[in-house]
Symmetry: C2
Subunit: 99 residues, 2 copies
């Protein structure tokens, strides 16, 4: 049951570090991707925006340092909640891309 997204994107908005009731650090962000991709032999410009969430130690480490940066995010997709089907990228790794 694979579920892995690798996305290079610019962090357009980063929320303040907060903690879950269980004390787990969480940073929410919105990222924008733009590139040129090929599918079925056809090349095209591609853009998308997705909410991404970083939890655990990396949330504390990177809080306040993400907005405005281009990053390659690796993680998995989920729907935001049982009632909200919007997709969220749950980040496992953050890599800063040199500008």
């Amino acid at each position: 049951m694979q579920n892995r997204l690798v996305l290079t994107a610019t962090v357009e908005r980063e929320e303040d570090l907060r903690y879950t009731p269980a004390g787990i650090p969480v940073v929410q962000m919105w990222v924008r991707h733009q590139s040129r991709q090929t599918a079925g032999g056809f090349e095209r410009d591609v853009a998308c925006e997705i909410q991404a969430v970083l939890i655990g130690e990396d949330a504390r480490r990177y809080a306040g340092k993400l907005a405005g940066n281009t990053v390659t995010l690796t993680g998995f997709l989920s729907q935001r909640s049982l009632k909200n089907p919007r997709l969220v990228l749950n980040i496992e790794y953050v890599e800063f891309v040199k500008g």
Copy 2:
């Protein structure tokens, strides 16, 4: 500018094969994923649903054979259109998962 999603999912709905004005075969589908994933050291149940589109020769090859099957889809994300930010998986490879 990486943009790659690998997702194992069940094809819940598959539309009929159609052709773009330029004669390119296209199959639209909706797929549902469920798994258990770990982020930031925390394990959780994950579910999501996403529209996926297959174009080119593979659309013709797999048309009518997808619905109900579990497949691993490899491709890239885009927003559906300039006006519609909903995410779509543009499929580059389809692999049928044995049940």
